[in-house]
Symmetry: none
Subunit: 258 residues, 2 copies
DNA sequence: CCGCTTCTTGCACGTTAATGCGTACTATTC
DNA sequence: GAATAGTACGCATTAACGTGCAAGAAGCGG
């Protein structure tokens, strides 16, 4: 692994979780803690994080003053943006990602790092527009009759088109998320498309704002144990979170910069 | 293996993985690491990657300069808006309208009266987004691989989908418009889609800003006598306009409001 | 066909970056 | 105020780097 690559990964991690632990990083990247500390020290010197005893935290304040151009700062302004940055951190280079119609998914698209090569398959024109200026993002748009209410295309054509694609990761825009019932949606057509996407994807991720958690919508999309990754905010219902953890879901807490 | 061939392969790999390791490349292409380093150095000098210790990383996109469509559409905002209003006036209630990818067409979509019931078929996600809040506009989106440069989808899937539809009116986004040559486009894929749309539409309309008039782009879309309606600004080249009038085209002059 | 140039490649060299370890220091905890 | 965990510093080692140079291949003119 390249050194620079590692520091990028650490920044990614920082944005995703809001904090990093030196010892964990050392084990994960198979380097000594010294090296990690050096990385963190450099990042802190560049104003990209705040070094603390045992690790580092996401810098809270305004944009780092040093950066002249400072690429679009994905500094998480509000909850949804933080969630989106954390969720985007799950995407590995070169992966194929499904993003269905949801405001959270639009935020995730906006949080994809500009240097990350990725193929995004979506039924949401707004996501395609949001990714127009990502030089390394390829976008495949699922067409059909556009549902202005939900902001996406849900026809049979969209489903038929996506069934030709095998994705690595599907961020399902959840209308409801419950520890026993699983992922649910408000609309039958929406639910059908989500189910099709889930079937064509290796992994399933849910990035849920706290108001969605522990709620149930009428139409089932996927059972709780099908959720591979769950990205949540600190104030998410702990009981639901625990339930998912017991099912083997990887839970990611979108960090709050203090 | 030729040198240039190798550098192309390296770029390919960069784009795919977001990073390359010099040692791996050296082994894969059976050359010394020195040679790989030289390649990477040249690529970096050309701005195609970022050289780091041990390899190279994909460079982040150059600038967040908003989508190309947006950029173009802000140029002559007033003129374009007047043109769009006049063009939108050609749409009768209940009609089915093709709008392909063009900044003028985006403006036309925005100029469609909210009370007008219409079905818009487009390959441009930005148009779908613009029409989201039109309660009486039904939008059918043509999907496929999204071309960020042009802001639309141009694949065979888009053409196949639109060929199932018979429209009343097609606003062709013209890259060039000439009294003898007719409508032309800059891109072959773009031209092919435009031709397919023209074939599926009863009438063909061109709303052209004055800089497009009396110019020719490389790829032919439709002959001049196929244009049923021409919407222009007052300062359009009078010779070209007259030529179209002689061919039976209805010429509409976008009124100057003030 | 022969010399010439140009380009690419690999190798040898000294230089620099990155890492891990030992040691001494400092923060945190109880 | 120890005990513990984390940190800073210096140093040695390794890997990667840049440069200069020479060998070989391809192109060119005579």
């Amino acid at each position: 692994m390249l050194a620079e690559e590692r520091t990028v990964a650490i920044q990614h991690r920082l944005k995703r979780d809001g904090r990093v632990v030196a010892a964990d990083l050392a084990q994960e990247f198979a380097v000594s803690e010294d090296t990690i500390r050096r990385d963190l020290r450099d990042l802190a010197k560049a104003g990209l994080c705040r070094k603390v005893y045992g690790g580092a935290l996401l810098v809270a304040g305004p944009a780092p003053k040093a950066g002249p151009i400072m690429q679009r700062s994905t500094l998480a302004a509000d909850d949804k943006a933080r969630l989106a940055v954390a969720a985007a951190g799950l995407i590995a280079p070169g992966q194929i990602v499904f993003l269905d119609a949801a405001s959270t998914n639009l935020a995730i698209a906006g949080a994809i790092p500009r240097a990350l090569p990725v193929t995004v398959v979506t039924n949401t024109p707004a996501i395609a527009v949001a990714l127009s200026d990502h030089a390394h993002a390829r976008v495949i748009l699922l067409g059909g009759v556009f549902d202005a209410e939900r902001g996406g295309c849900f026809g049979g054509a969209a489903i038929a088109a996506l069934q030709q694609i095998n994705a690595d990761l599907f961020f399902v825009g959840a209308c409801g998320l419950h520890g026993q019932i699983g992922v649910t949606a408000f609309d039958p057509a929406e639910a059908e498309l989500k189910r099709a996407m889930a079937q064509q994807s290796t992994r399933l991720a849910v990035a849920a704002t706290s108001d969605k958690i522990a709620t149930i919508a009428p139409f089932r999309v996927a059972p709780a144990d099908a959720v591979d990754h769950l990205v949540i905010l600190p104030d998410a219902d702990p009981q639901t979170v625990e339930m998912f953890q017991r099912l083997g879901t990887n839970v990611h807490l979108a960090g709050r910069p203090s």
